[in-house]
Amino acid sequence: MTDSRLYRWLRPWVFPVVLVGAFEWYARRAAALGSDALAPPSAAAKAFMGAATDGSLWTATGFTLGTAALGLLLGAVLGIALGVVLGLSRRAAQLGSVSIEVLRPVPSVALIPLAMLTFGFGVRMELAIVAFATFWPLLVLVQSAVQQVEPRLLEVSRVLGLSSRERAFKIVLPAIVPRLFVALRLGVAVALVVAVTVEIAANPNGMGYAMMIAQQSFDPALMLAWLVWIGVVGFAVNAGMVLLQRVVSRRMGVQP
């Protein structure tokens, strides 16, 4: 019995361990042949410890996570506000549809040069792009969530004579909380990916830039360390959101 539990616990780790082992062997052989493009995972682990002790790891991670969170906040507030309006009023939804269809497919990275021109490098440009990228999925998901609010709830609000602001805050927003968290989970994933992408492409701050600069200074060990760390941070943030969503939907009495 304990045997099979151990087996089950170990099973997911076998494949990555084999991959890392193969990479270690390959990188060492390449290094022996005089290539400096790759570093074995053991060297990457050492580089990672170095970055963690001198603090550069934490500043860069903090910058990326903080900017992604602020951008998500901005995009989410705007997206939710417009989503509620478009979800409640069918006429507004129809009037806005063509503009949304035209603007939504603009790839967020296309705005990197524009944001660079407008804001220069730093927090603001990254913020603007993250907000743009998270605005659309939240708008669309919130709009459809509001459209699926139980019609009887809206009738109650009409009978009670609530103003439209009270209706939005007291009836609609609480009713869509479980679906809102699904949308926010998607938004978090998008925000993190876009933030790292902006840093790789242009912004000289954060985790993406740290990886870029490690590559450009021919430090493959540090670059690999950053790549794995970005993966770990992304995984942890997403896993945290899944957990949060599960807790919220259980509180709200929704079967997951």
């Binding site: 991959l19 009037l95 503009s99 603007l103 990197i112 021109l117 790789i200 690999l224 790549l227 992304g234």
Partner: protein, 264 residues
Amino acid sequence: MNGNGNKDRIGLNRLGSLGVLLALVALWWVASNAGWVSRVFLPTPQATFASLLEGLNLAGGDGNGELLGFTQATVGRMIEGWLLASLFGVLLGAAIGVSPQVRAWVQPTLEFIRPLPASALLPLAISIFGLNPGMVLFVVAFGAMWPVLLATVHGFAAVEPRLSEVTRCLQMSRAAYIWKMGLPNAMPDILAGMRLALTIALIVAVVGEMIASQSGLGQAILLAARAFRASDLFAGIVLLGLIGFVSNALLALAEQRLLRWQRP
């Protein structure tokens, strides 16, 4: 008569929403022409339009046709990478998804790699392959492969158990099972994954062009911004938006046709 009135109303709403878009463009026109926003950041719509015409060689002979070539390069990269991603995503996904054993061993690793931004692989790919078009294509294909791969695995894992029993009763071979049960069942998932993959392919292609300075719209808009040529920058953004819009619409259409058998 009722149906006619409905149709009229839909037409009217369509007109109304077009009007909203036109109003937005008018706002842009006023804001840039009246100088509310500096023209360094916000060119006038007519300047953007002129840049588009010149770049696409539509102005009647005197255009340079630069944007046309860039657009072709970017669209080509996006589509090549997307096709590769779809092919390998479905093949690998089917190989992993068809056996619960393999799934149990490999899927946790796949789930770990999923949230990794595709563009984060660019530095690694640059140091392995160097700065060349093949490197960008590789990253585009690799980044766009994940949604297809994971969707295929999920589609295969979600085959109705009774259907699997039927194939066992009929003593179908594994290849026949994949072809006749697995793939049709995973089709909606695969198509949804491919749609996401196309978006990712465009994004990674643009980022790749920016970093690796491969000729394309990504590089063009970056250079335009560095040289403060705002109208060229906006022309590039408009074209990228158009590419996203058209590719998404085409794929939605294809999806509708391919999944027609699912609807009663």
